[in-house]
């Protein structure tokens, strides 16, 4: 919303400075977004006097002028037809920036004769579109600053423009008068009266208006007056200046009047050329499919139910949003019908959104205009039209009736103080509300008709608080809860934090990737269906909610590889979406390792990453999340894993805490990943919570007796899993065997392609007496028997 200082002063008697006004506006909730002072860009222009002018010897249209300025006499070449001796002009000396032509004046030669400046037109100073000649001032001293002259003689030209942001609850501030009211309530001035002397009715309008019964809920009242015999044309200077100052283009007087009241009092109006209206006007609902050429020169097709104003020829105006071109006024209009109607906010909002029309009228009607002002707004406009453009006005044509929006809410002064936490006396509270137009009866505050947003006690609190100024609010400590703060994170939150720190410690860089991803990538990882699709994605790259974290991480890897990083380790902790309903999301911790373990190095240790790197990291991260150490490693995870080189880390076949492995080569190709890539995905929510509540640990059992280690090598079928063999060995004597480690695997060779050798170290820890050889032998035999039974393997000779 834009307005100017002089416009504000049409409603507010004030001496406050622009700075004070702006500060107050922002504080009141009408945030100042910009201030433009046209005087600033004209500050260097000064007044001069043309002492002498003669034709340029080499150009018919140029004159060589001697101009008196504050810097003495200057020679200026000028092409304006009115450049002549004896006129007072505005001079831009060398070095002055001229905004209208975006040029800084320099000393130059024009057709061989030197010129020391420029005499300016109104357009060159962006004062108007006038460019027929240079400015001739009726007064002014040589050397006087032009802006000072303007301030004295034509203040509208140096009117400061202020732009404020309007929150949706403040339609009243979409009129300058509403802004003035806020400032007056704050104490920055006194409201001026805004009464209107209605133009007496000279005749009864033969143009009438009706509202269909089914449209009354959207258009409770429609008023108008027919004015006959007006002379349309350009608006008076002051009106053009005001409109131009806020960035509106003056069109013709009749149109400018409607724009003026739109901004002056938040009262959108419409003017029909009565001679182009066939029959009478009817407000009704579109059946759908009607077309209308609107004032923006675009054709719109109405949808069933949208409100429209029609005459005998069809739709002539999109109700409350934009008028039609066919019945619009032109320079030639002599009989004009002025419309002032009230439209339902919700219906205008939906219609405007559906038709995609952003007009000043829609903007205001969907936020709410003052219904009670409907007749007054009409009278103001008719008065202005008749006073300037002449003509006679009809009696008022009325359809429907002004809706009654009167209501009152209780002002509870104590509640205001309790909510805001500021001592604002009851009398001050009442005074504030009164200044804003509320009427107080006892402790009931009657809401002014221009404040549709005030719907309850809480709204009264807001009014009192913002006028009192929240800037003055002094913080009061929020009472602390007694004692040392209790822990506030849930075990799941702690788990995610730990996982994050652990992964970073293991060398992974944490990423935060978008929750949406392209369908192709989503589909590779079990997603990309319609349930997780966005209706209005911002681009095709972000069309589906991610089914997991891997696709986003792999896309990130690919981008980094393109930047020249071959070896990448990334991880992310975040939500994945297994459906499109609220709550169909789960937490994942995912990491990817791509390329080699590091750059080539003097120690020769760098090597391609492999499955066991991913497994180690998965185990480490699971461990800090509190996962039990004893797990099953199963196969058969989803299709994006290498079928033979992955494992699910499980507690039973249904409880999958995580998956690690190589990614399927096809997936890597599709995702454009170069080199080996392994990954893990962990599911923190699947890790059981610790059962014990006690912090005490079980007693440590330790012994001074020496542990004994024995190695065994077994030849087994190549597809026998090491964990089966280890578990079998442990089972030989659970009390005695404290650890079994695989330390060698040898496949093929002399054993044949379908066999392999697995070597284990078994550590036996006696508890009460030193082991004797015979005892060790006995256990060894049991181990061999158990392993043979479980795996079919034999002890290697």
């Amino acid at each position: 919303m834009k307005f100017t200082l002089s416009w504000l002063k049409r409603h507010l008697e004030t001496d406050a400075s622009v700075a004070d006004i702006c500060e107050a506006l922002t504080d009141l909730g009408l945030e100042v977004e910009g201030v433009e002072n046209p005087a600033e860009k004209l500050a260097d222009f000064t007044i001069g006097y043309v002492k002498h002018a003669e034709k340029h010897p080499d150009a018919d249209k140029l004159r060589v002028c001697k101009v008196d300025t504050d810097e003495g006499e200057l020679q200026i070449i000028c092409g304006a037809p009115n450049a002549r001796e004896g006129i007072t002009v505005v001079v831009a000396k060398p070095g002055v920036y001229v905004p209208g032509i975006d040029t800084t004046i320099g000393v130059g030669k024009i057709r061989g004769i030197e010129s020391y400046g420029m005499m300016a037109s109104e357009r060159e100073m962006e004062l108007s579109d006038e460019h027929d000649g240079i400015i001739e001032l009726p007064s002014g001293e040589v050397g006087q600053r032009f802006v000072d002259w303007l301030a004295q003689n034509d203040p509208a030209k140096v009117d400061t423009m202020i732009e404020i942001a309007i929150t949706p609850n403040r339609p009243d501030a979409l009129g300058v008068r509403g802004i003035a009211r806020d400032l007056a309530a704050r104490g920055l001035g006194v409201m001026k009266p805004c009464d209107v002397d209605p133009v007496p009715a000279a005749f009864t309008s033969d143009l009438t208006v009706s509202i269909d019964d089914d449209t009354l809920d959207g258009c409770p009242v429609f008023m108008g007056r027919l004015i006959k015999g007006v002379k349309n044309g350009p608006s008076p200077e002051w009106l053009q200046d005001l409109l131009r100052a806020i960035g509106l283009r003056p069109i013709s007087f009749l149109v400018d009047v409607t724009n003026y009241f739109t901004y002056d009092q938040n009262r959108p109006l419409h003017v029909f050329d009565a001679d182009k209206v066939a029959g009478n006007l009817r407000v009704h609902r579109a059946v759908g499919g009607e077309t209308i050429m609107a004032l923006d020169d675009k054709e719109y097709t109405l949808q069933a139910g949208q409100m429209v104003i029609s005459d005998d020829n069809g739709a002539q105006s999109i109700a409350g949003i934009m008028g039609g071109l066919d019945t619009g006024v032109t320079e030639d209009t002599v009989n004009v019908f002025v419309e002032s109607a009230f439209w339902d906010t919700v219906q205008i909002a939906y219609a405007g959104r559906a038709l995609k029309i952003n007009s000043d009228a829609r903007y205001r009607f969907e936020r709410g205009v003052d219904p009670a002002f409907t007749p007054d707004g009409l009278e103001h406009a008719v008065r202005m039209i008749v006073d300037h453009a002449g003509g006679e006005a009809s009696e008022m044509v009325v359809a429907g009736q002004v809706p009654d929006v009167s209501r009152a809410h209780k002002l509870d002064a104590q509640r205001v103080i309790s909510l805001v936490g500021m001592e604002i006396s009851e009398s001050q509270q009442r005074q504030t509300l009164t200044a804003l137009g509320f009427r107080l009866e006892g402790n009931m505050a009657h809401v002014p008709s221009w404040r549709p947003d005030v719907l309850g006690e809480a709204d009264l609190v807001e009014e009192v608080a913002r006028i009192a100024s929240l800037t003055k609010l002094v913080g009061k400590p929020l009472p602390r809860l007694a004692g040392v703060p209790k822990p506030i994170l849930t075990p799941m939150q702690t788990r995610q934090g730990n996982a994050r720190r652990a992964a970073a410690s293991l060398g992974y860089n944490e990423c935060v990737t978008y929750s949406f991803i392209d369908q192709e990538a989503a589909a590779l990882f079990g997603g990309g269906d319609d349930a997780t699709m966005l209706e209005n994605p911002i681009s095709n790259d972000m069309s589906h909610m991610r089914p997991g974290l891997l696709p986003g991480l792999l896309r990130a890897v690919s981008r980094n590889q393109a930047r020249g990083f071959a070896d990448v380790s990334l991880f992310e902790v975040g939500h994945a979406f297994h459906g499109g309903e609220p709550g169909e999301q789960h937490v994942q911790v995912a990491g990817v390792l791509v390329g080699r373990t590091g750059p080539k190095d003097v120690h020769g240790e760098a090597r391609a990453v492999d499955v066991y790197d991913a497994k180690a990291d998965a185990e480490a991260v699971l461990s800090v999340m509190g996962a039990p150490a004893k797990v099953q490693v199963l196969r058969g995870a989803d299709a994006w894993w290498h079928p033979g080189r992955h494992g699910k880390i499980c507690l039973g076949p249904k409880k999958v805490m995580g998956v690690f492995g190589e990614l399927h080569p096809k997936v890597l190709r599709e995702m454009n990943i170069k080199g080996p890539a392994v990954a893990f995905v962990l599911y923190p929510e699947e890790i059981p919570l610790p059962r014990a509540k006690s912090t005490a640990r079980a007693a440590l059992k330790s012994t001074d007796l020496q542990a004994v280690e024995r190695d065994f090598a077994f030849v087994v079928d190549a597809n026998v899993e090491a964990l089966t063999l280890v578990n079998a060995a442990v089972g030989a004597d659970k009390a005695l065997i404290s650890d079994v480690r695989v330390f060698d695997e040898f496949i093929g060779g002399s054993l044949g392609d379908d066999k392999k050798s697995l070597a284990i170290t078994v550590r036996m820890q006696p508890a009460d007496k030193t082991l004797k050889d015979a005892e060790i032998e006995a256990v060894a035999e049991k181990i061999v028997a158990k392993v043979t039974k479980a795996t079919g393997g034999v002890l290697r000779g």
């Binding site: 504080d27 939906y350 909510l419 805001v420 929020l478 994050r500 209706e535 209005n536 990083f565 380790s569």
Partner: protein, 358 residues
């Protein structure tokens, strides 16, 4: 006699050049047939008086030779070790064995910082769905279907299959739905913060379609806007690690709070660096207000009995301000150079007792 032996052997030991010579000397002196051993045997033939002087002398000689042998032996070993070590030179300026150092993303770090501060003031951390029903995201927050705020929020909607006439779900545009869900589940009084991802269909220099927000909610019987201001002042001081800060509350409007205020902090941009708490500029960082009675009612809390405040702040935004990160879009690009430069070390866990940043 013993003196001769002593000087003879000590001299020979001192001159011995390796361990085998020393062994020979030991045998020659102390071996079964060694000179000193033979002399010891002679003791039996002596009178007790002679024995009384010769015995201790011989024993002392034996001990002395033994000590000299030991000392020389260890001296020779040391010399040999020194000699060996002289050849064992390594270029210690070679690179160490690689040990990868990972990083924590600024979003995670700052979320933990915020959590640490609010935990101290008794706020728990609540979370909720990112795909939300329009009721939780809008209606319950006093934003009905026609409200201009709905259109202004650039909401992402989820696809609805043909024939499914339910209103589409939305990607939450703020974490406020979590407030409603928490109130529904736990009632009042309550103190929570709700950090998390939020979504708006907007992408340019300063907007990304996904960003992070943390909202706070405190409901009790007598919580006022003055309490809100204090909480925010304490938060800003603690977060930006400054002793003093000035906040400016400006009246504003949000459908879910009343009164509502935008919060600015006093700052300076001198030399292109942000300094919080000094200077003449104001930086808008927060939206806040007293929870609207309709919102409390929608969440099943009696607005006649309970009142309180809510606020929201962008996590990415305060991360950028605090750590001087220029471009929001880079947060989500996973550029390794960016992650390493702006990321945090794994053990830099922010705490109030140890300091938020280090």
């Amino acid at each position: 006699m013993t003196d001769d032996l002593k000087s003879k052997y000590l001299g020979l030991i001192a001159n011995a050049s390796d361990e085998s010579i020393l062994e020979d000397l030991r045998v020659a002196a102390l071996g079964k047939k060694g000179e000193i051993s033979l002399q010891m045997r002679e003791l039996g033939k002596m009178t007790p008086e002679q024995r009384q002087t010769a015995g201790p002398a011989l024993n002392a000689l034996k001990d002395e030779i033994n000590s000299a042998l030991m000392a020389k032996k260890s001296g020779l070993a040391d010399a040999a070790l020194d000699e060996r070590l002289r050849g064992e030179w390594l270029d210690v300026t070679l690179p160490s064995r690689a040990r990868a150092a990972g990083t924590i993303h600024p979003i995670s770090q700052v979320t933990e910082e915020v959590t640490a501060i609010f935990a101290d003031m008794g706020f728990a951390v609540a979370e909720g769905p990112q795909i939300e029903s329009d009721w939780y995201n809008f209606d319950a927050l006093n934003i009905p279907g026609h409200h201009p705020a709905r259109a202004e929020m650039d909401t992402f909607y989820t696809h609805r299959a043909e024939g499914d006439n339910r209103p589409p779900h939305v990607l939450r545009t703020h974490t406020s739905p979590v407030q409603i869900r928490s109130l529904e589940a736990n009632g009042a009084p309550i103190r929570i913060i709700c950090p998390g991802r939020v979504y708006r269909a907007d992408y340019d220099q300063t907007h990304t379609p996904m960003f992070h927000q943390v909202e706070g909610l405190a409901i009790d019987k007598d919580i006022s806007m003055a309490n809100l201001k204090w909480v925010l002042e304490e938060f800003v001081k603690a977060f930006f690690e400054v002793d003093d800060v000035e906040l400016r509350f400006r009246a504003s409007h949000f459908p879910f709070t009343e009164p509502s205020a935008e919060v600015d902090i006093r700052c300076s941009w001198e030399g292109g660096t942000l300094k919080i708490g000094e200077g003449d500029d104001w930086l808008e960082i927060l939206g806040s207000g007293m929870v609207h009675p309709k919102v409390l009612a929608a969440a099943g809390v009696d607005p006649n009995e309970y009142q309180g405040f809510a606020f929201g702040v962008g996590i990415d935004r305060i991360a950028m301000l605090k750590y001087g990160i220029p471009d929001l879009r880079a947060f989500f690009d996973s550029d390794l150079r960016w992650l390493r430069h702006y990321g945090f070390r794994s053990l830099d866990v922010p705490t109030l007792h140890g300091g938020l940043s280090s």
